[in-house]
């Protein structure tokens, strides 16, 4: 961004030579003199790469992000989006048309950041070229009157002017200034790394965007709910949710298998934060290939497992009560754990449904609530603690047609009651081992026990490491551009009226956002004075007019 050439530390007193940088369209870019196509293109390009446009785009980026945090987002919480459709039936389709449920993948969001990065590139590339040139150009000659510079000092020396200048040049060279000498003056410049840092920062942001894109093209994300004692293989059909990158096919998935042997959660048992989770330990075994060596590990929050570059995270947990259902014909048609989803975190009260499509003569369905630690609160059953101290299941029973053979695919967590009739069963929360005998000989359901489940996030992101490197480079560039100041120091030595050599020192920081050049100059002026004393024991005078900056 071209306007950055103005030294940020000098607000309100922009030096004319900096503000009117050649080709710097920080002011309103001139309208095209000839309205040909090339003229318009050049005008448009100058507009786009101007600081003002970049600033507006940056603002737009901030504003455009806001709805992404206030409205439910498809990519983060699809269920909340569905809920929004239900509660705002008129508004939701319009929001969807404007991509407001998917802001960060919206075309207009992409337009903003792509324009911003184009503006950035259009500014950064020419600057890089200018930097390369200026690093080879010696500093400008010393101005005539150094006392007019923002920082200046004067001292006298017993050395001849030429020798005093040599001494000064030595001091500046030792401090790694780039020097240029002339008749009676030395000019020195330092701090090119500031501009370098600025460029690195902006280029690193471009690299960061590319890394994100890399992950979006070649990475994938998946979710899988895994009940204790069961296994799954990392294939598209075995995953509950699969969000592949644009260039990922199902054959690209790393073919590992994983078994959850045991899951253990511990909770605070007393005090004000009773029930708060303390630790989750999922003891899993896995192999990178089917039939490969089996490894065991303890999967915890903040400690993912890495298989073949794919990482597996534990992101949730819950209970899966086990039900055995005998149908009207006396056959056991169902005997398996059913994952219930927690509806509150403090007591892990969970809801779920049991669908028994193989039951005869009628299909059976149950909607239930699982309470890990059931307590009676004013006649209402609630769960008082997340651990299974006194687990109960309360069920509503249905018979009829589950509607699973036709129509759109159903969620395993909801019961379509359209074809079902509720059975008149007295509500009684079941303890482990207890049964419901359905009226009319429809069958029997037994709550035989419970298991725990964990939900896993499986992610593969090849852009991760590049993103990290780009981020670190951006930070390094930022620090360089903030804390390195580009500054020039000039020294003039000439014979004074009393025969002694007068040495004038002037300094100017072209950019000093973090401040502190005045202090550096003070130290430098003192070092120069010391160097110019030579072997004389005479204490030279020191008068100085260090002015404050930019007032």
């Amino acid at each position: 961004m071209t306007g950055l050439r103005v030294p940020p530390g000098q607000a309100g007193s922009a030096r004319p030579d900096e503000a009117a940088a050649p080709g710097g369209p920080s002011g309103p870019a001139g309208s095209p003199s000839s309205f040909g196509l090339a003229g318009w293109a050049r005008w448009g390009w100058r507009q786009l790469t101007s600081m003002r446009t970049a600033l507006v785009l940056l603002f737009l980026l901030a504003v455009a992000s806001v709805p992404g945090s206030l409205l439910p987002q498809q990519g983060i919480d699809p269920a909340a989006v569905q809920q929004y459709y239900v509660s705002h039936p008129a508004l939701a389709p319009w929001l969807a048309r404007l991509s407001l449920f998917n802001v960060f993948a919206a075309p207009w969001f992409a337009a903003i950041y792509l324009l911003l990065f184009l503006s950035l590139a259009g500014c950064v590339v020419p600057r890089s070229i200018r930097l390369a040139r200026s690093a080879r150009t010696p500093p400008p000659p010393a101005p005539r009157n150094l006392a007019r510079l923002p920082q200046s000092a004067r001292h006298e020396s017993t050395l001849e002017p030429a020798a005093a200048l040599d001494a000064a040049a030595g001091v500046l060279r030792r401090r790694k200034f780039r020097l240029r000498t002339g008749d009676g003056w030395v000019s020195a410049e330092k701090g090119y790394r500031r501009e370098l840092g600025n460029l690195v920062f902006h280029l690193a942001l471009l690299a960061l965007l590319c890394s994100v894109a890399l992950g979006g093209l070649f990475g994938y994300k998946a979710n899988r709910l895994l009940v204790s004692g069961t296994s799954f293989a990392n294939t598209v059909t075995a995953l509950d949710e699969f969000h592949p990158g644009r260039l990922v096919s199902s054959s690209d998935l790393q073919p590992f298998t994983m078994t959850l042997n045991r899951f253990a959660a511990s909770y605070v048992t007393s005090g004000p934060s009773r029930g708060q989770p303390l630790s989750f330990n999922a003891y899993v075994s896995y192999s990178a290939q089917p039939g490969g060596a089996v490894r065991h590990d303890n999967l915890r929050v903040n400690h993912p497992i890495n298989v073949d570059g794919v990482r597996v995270f534990i992101i949730g947990h819950g209970y899966a009560p086990v039900f055995r259902v005998t149908d009207g014909t006396g056959k056991v048609v169902f005997d398996q754990p059913v994952p219930f989803i927690a509806v509150n975190t403090s007591g892990l009260t969970s809801t779920g449904v049991v669908k028994v499509p193989d039951a005869h003569p009628d299909q059976l369905g149950f909607a239930g609530v699982f309470l890990p630690t059931a307590v009676d609160v004013n006649g209402q059953l609630e769960s008082a603690f997340p651990a299974p101290l006194d687990p109960r299941v309360s069920l509503v029973s249905y018979k009829g047609n589950l509607g699973m053979d036709s129509g759109p695919p159903q969620s395993v967590y909801t019961l379509n009651t359209a074809g079902l009739t509720q059975l008149p069963v007295a509500p009684r929360p079941l303890a482990v081992g207890q049964s419901i005998k359905l009226p009319g000989g429809a069958g029997t359901l037994t709550f035989t026990g419970y298991r725990q489940w964990i939900s896993l996030a499986i992610t593969y992101d090849p852009g991760q490491l590049p993103a990290l490197i780009a981020g670190l480079a951006a930070l390094a560039g930022l620090l360089l551009s903030f804390f390195v100041r580009r500054r020039r120091v000039f020294v003039r030595a000439y014979p004074g009226p009393d025969g002694r050599t007068v040495v004038d020192v002037g300094g100017l920081a072209r950019s000093d956002p973090a401040g502190g050049f005045d202090e550096e100059f003070t130290g430098l002026a003192r070092a120069l004075e010391k160097a110019s004393r030579g072997s004389s024991t005479d204490t030279p005078s020191l008068t100085s007019t260090t002015e404050g900056k930019s007032h």
């Binding site: 600081m51 992000s65 605070v268 934060s273 903040n302 403090s346 996030a457 973090a514």
Partner: protein
Amino acid sequence: MPDNQGLSHLSDHFLIVAVVLYSLAVIAFAADFAFGRRSPVVTRAKAEVPDLVPAGVAAGGVEDGAAESGTAHDAAGPDASGVGPASTRPGSTRPDSTGPGSTGPGSTGPGSKGPGSTAVARLGGQGRQPAVPVSRLVGIALTLTTAGLALHIAGVITRGLAVHRVPWGDMYEFVISVSCVAVLFFIGLMIKYRPYHLGLFFMAPIVIIMGLAQTVIYTPAGPLVPALNSYWLAIHVTAMTLASGTFMVGAVLAVVYLFAERHTRRVAAGLSTRYGEVFRLLPSAERLDQIAYRTVVFAFPIWTFGIMAGAIWADQAWGRYWGWDPTETWAFITWVVYACFLHARVTAGWRGRRAAYIQLVGFGCLLFNLLGVSLFITGLHSYAGLS
């Protein structure tokens, strides 16, 4: 994990006393504006140096910026690093070494230690800065603030010892830590730039924030949920705490700047101003703007690092380094707005007031992230510990 409730209560007591001391400091700062008898220093100097500008002018008539860009403080010029305002160089006995304005309030030579200036001299590090006349009340206020800060730090540390971890695991702890950083940074500013009279504007919000923290969002010390149980908590949240505290100081400076700038414009236009006395004691608008800018320059890389550390942690905990979770989104928005501020500062037509407004918008985003997102929007970062 048995939490030490005794230490936790000790922490509460420390913090309550800290708030009380801060409140007293605010009263002292306010009383200084109202009744402060400025600068025994100047009066004494007047007695010693006959050709001095009238004390009233020295005390208030010289704008800070003018004093600085002029020569009022130049006697202590380039070689006066690390000496207090009331000290002089050994070499200053040469008659020509004292500049024309060297009789300014801060450079009156040895023996000018007024009763109020002792505390100030201890805090003031660099003699180069313009000396604004201070009353005894400011010294008292600064002493109270420093004592309050000591207790504040003790409160944060004991809270950490009580829960065996870094003491910023819930919103109450975070707010207390952020305000601790802000006070620390404020004291740092006092040492570096000596804008003593800004104390009221810094400490009043701190008192309000800490009071609200103690009453509204107080959470008893407790263990962390597993998601927070990571060394990245120490890295990510520490960076965010440091940056937030510093941004807070910057925001206060921006607000004071906006008022001071308005005052300056009104004075320039010859309009009447009601609070001239107040603004004469404050740093000039340009100086405020400059300090605010440097504050942001200090905090912005820390905020950037904090976001990056958070991304790495998110990658460890949730399997993605960036997921547009509401808190992440608002941290990003805050970052972008502060980036706007940094760019606005170097764009013609956007400096000054507009840049200050952008900075305030940035801080508003930060606050919204801390309060609004934590309390009203459910996301992965819902760790406020409030129910």
